[in-house]
């Protein structure tokens, strides 16, 4: 059993680790960048990057450069300067929109279907082989098929989100529904509650924490997958933005994107965690 540690001590250690990491990075980048400068034609030097002019390779960006770039991006996150040049806030909003639609559709399909599977052992046995084969497939493997049949890249991205978030919700719902205590169902029957009433008033509240756990897993996966899907189909979204900055070999922007993707993923997880806390029950 762990003993409680004061909050401030953990926070201090976190900060110290961060400072050590960033400081080490900055130091390594600064010392690694300078290669023994050979005398070089100034006209040639003007045509290549600073590091290439000294016979080296462009180094990793330093944390200070990344910080400056982050400030520049966050100062104006919602600008639109043409189809291919929009602010980072807008890109994240596009990604969240796709995840939201795909996730909502998946919940609409998975939760009722999970209920049926959980309540009917026959259906559970019949559908099990399909679920077991399709579940481990990487959602991105569906992408070419989706593009080919749907013939629309943004709907294809939503479809990929749908297909990746449907399985954890489906399985967890079925598991939660199947695991409702027999006594409670018997009590409901004694009280002459109808099937629908039993499902809504007894099974749903009892299975809600398990269903929410499935939803929480799903949204995490969906947020992981949207970045990869948008790198493939392009157009808009944070994944496309990463691809685009990679195109420009701008590593500072990619580090920033990693940071923002992490923060947004954390917020999504917290949101569902908060909902899960609201429906939790204890015996």
């Amino acid at each position: 059993m762990q003993t409680q540690v004061p909050f401030w001590r953990a926070a201090l250690l976190s900060l110290a680790l961060l400072a050590l990491l960033l400081g080490g990075w900055e130091f390594a980048a600064r010392s690694g960048g300078a290669v023994g400068g050979t005398a070089i034609d100034p006209e040639y030097a003007a045509l290549v990057g600073a590091a290439a002019a000294q016979g080296g390779q462009t180094p990793m960006p330093m944390p200070s450069e990344i910080g400056a770039r982050l400030w520049q991006l966050l100062r104006d996150p919602f600008y639109v300067r043409g189809t291919n040049d929009q602010g980072i806030g807008i890109q994240i909003a596009y990604s969240l929109g796709r995840v939201g639609i795909g996730f909502a559709l998946a919940a609409l399909v998975a939760i009722p279907l999970g209920f049926l599977i959980g309540m009917s052992p026959l259906l559970a046995a019949a559908l099990n082989p399909f679920i077991q084969v399709l579940r481990p497939v990487s959602p991105l493997a569906w992408m070419p098929l989706a593009l080919y049949t749907i013939k629309d890249s943004s709907i294809s991205a939503v479809f990929v989100i749908f297909i990746c978030s449907v399985w954890p919700m489906l399985l967890n719902t079925a598991f939660g529904v199947a695991g409702v205590r027999r006594e409670w169902l018997n009590v409901a029957r004694t009280l002459e509650a109808g099937r629908l009433k039993t499902a809504l008033r007894v099974i749903l509240p009892a299975a809600a924490p398990t269903i929410l756990t499935g939803m929480r897993i799903s949204i995490g996966i969906a947020w992981l997958v949207i970045v990869a899907a948008e790198m493939l189909v392009g157009g808009t979204g944070i994944g496309y933005w990463v691809w685009n900055q990679w195109n420009n070999l701008s590593l500072a922007d990619i580090v920033i994107a990693i940071l923002l993707i992490g923060v947004v993923g954390l917020l999504l997880d917290r949101l569902l965690g908060w909902v899960a806390g609201a429906v939790a029950w204890q015996e």
Binding site: I40, A46, T83
Partner: protein, 446 residues
């Protein structure tokens, strides 16, 4: 520039009503795909029975047959009547996909520099992630037209590398030359291709000039491109990162990524493809074949915008301005100096020298049928195309040389007399009259 702005105001003599400042949408001479459509319609009317028509065509040939019909039917008038359709484009709001490379210069610059708007079109140019994505989005008609590699419409039309053959067309060539072989810095002493056994190369796509040129170049130096080296398809933006990570030894890729490797100190430019085949095509402005018939005025307006932009980009005095216009984040998203070095041809080669090659990249819209024929021989040579085809007939179907020529004539550019010419590739003559003989004479084939 002066001539280009003046040309659209010149009297065009098409007699169709259109606003001043816009050239007429369809030309009066009735050649090209328009004319072909009339010919076919008349032929069908005269010989409604399919087998008879085909037998007659086989026996006498299309030209003789049309000449005979022309004796009793005013073919010229019919062609002109169709060609003189009203000038207003059927569809003004168009989406055009592009890959962020300098090959797409005319397609991209026509947007910020107003060439599309001048011809009454409201075009959105959309940066796209890779060649397979461009192909899928174009086939799904999310794009009205697209920037493609010149071999792609040939492959799509023949049903190679796609599920079903779909008639696609090269309306204009985007650029000539402008590619290079870039090698990792550690190979700076290995300049002879004979030392390249075991190298891992990247090309942008299987159906690309890059793939065919690299294979031809290697084969000419006795290196078997399938057995002695590895050739992978890698999207251009990922080439520099892979070169840096030592995943590949080099690539034959599009600019700005050759120059970008130099800029970042990762690689050096071994040879420009222009040294190998001066004037080779690379990328194309591709449209679905049916667009020529279903939206003739939009097609004509688009052609004029593209041809004008191509001519503007080709002038050395405009290159700096063009580089500034397309390097921005909305288009190529590259440091301006990299794009400028590519377009002006004054560039650092990665080995400490500044080279001056003004024709490092060129812009010439004319889609020579002989270029298509060479591409087809290479598709056959390396086993992508597993059956024999009539090279000339496929080239004429896919490369719309007559339509491009008409648009060029309208904006005052010289138009070649013939649609085929002799090319010299790696010191070997390609005679368009004998593509099969050329193919048989090549070393190595699958």
């Amino acid at each position: 520039m002066a001539r280009l702005t003046r040309t659209p105001f010149a009297p065009c003599g098409c007699a169709a009503p259109h606003e001043p400042g816009f050239a007429c949408a369809a030309p009066a001479d009735g050649t090209g795909a328009h004319g072909a459509a009339v010919d076919e319609a008349v032929l069908r009317a005269v010989f409604p029975d399919g087998p008879t028509r085909r037998a007659m065509l086989g026996r006498f040939g299309a030209a003789t047959l049309m000449a005979a019909i022309g004796g009793v039917f005013p073919m010229g008038h019919a062609r002109e009547a169709l060609a003189q359709a009203p000038a207003a484009p059927e569809k003004r709001d168009l989406k055009i996909g592009f890959i962020p490379i300098t090959c797409a210069t005319p397609i991209i610059m026509a947007h910020p520099m107003g060439f599309y708007a001048r011809h009454g079109l409201n075009v959105e140019v959309i940066r796209t992630a890779g060649w397979a994505v461009i192909r899928d989005r174009a086939l799904a008609r999310e794009y009205d037209a697209a920037h493609m590699l010149a071999p792609m419409p040939l492959a799509i039309s023949l049903g190679v590398g796609v599920a079903n053959p779909i008639p696609w067309a090269v309306a204009a060539i985007e650029n000539t030359n402008g590619q290079a072989i870039t090698l990792a810095m550690k190979h700076r002493e290995k300049r002879d291709p004979k030392d390249w056994k075991g190298f891992r190369f990247a090309v942008p796509f299987d159906f690309s000039m890059h793939n065919y040129l690299l294979r031809d170049y290697l084969a000419a130096h006795g290196i078997d491109p399938d057995r002695d080296v590895q050739i992978r398809a890698v999207p251009p933006p990922e080439m520099v990162a892979n070169l840096r990570a030592d995943n590949i030894d080099g690539y034959l890729g599009p600019d700005p990524f050759n120059q970008r490797a130099v800029f970042d100190g990762v690689g050096f430019i071994h040879v420009l493809t222009k040294e190998f085949w001066d004037g080779h095509p690379c990328c194309a402005f591709a449209v679905p074949r049916e667009m020529v018939q279903s939206m003739p005025n939009t097609f004509a307006a688009l052609m004029r915008a593209i041809v004008e932009a191509t001519a503007h980009a080709n002038k050395p005095e405009n290159r700096r301005e063009v580089a500034q216009a397309i390097a921005a984040q909305n288009y190529l998203n590259q440091p301006p100096t990299v794009v400028e070095q590519v377009l002006t041809g004054t560039f650092a080669d990665g080995l400490g020298r500044v080279q001056r090659v003004p024709d490092r990249i060129g812009f010439d819209p004319f889609p020579w049928h002989s270029m298509a024929m060479w591409i087809l021989t290479q598709m056959r040579r390396w086993g992508q195309l597993t059956r024999d085809v009539d090279y000339r007939a496929v080239a004429e179907q896919v490369f719309l040389a007559l339509d491009a020529g008409r648009a060029m004539r309208e904006v005052g550019l010289p138009v070649p007399e013939s649609t085929v010419r002799e090319h010299v590739i790696g010191g070997r003559r390609f005679d368009p009259a004998d593509p099969a003989g050329y193919l048989a004479s090549l070393p190595m084939r699958r």
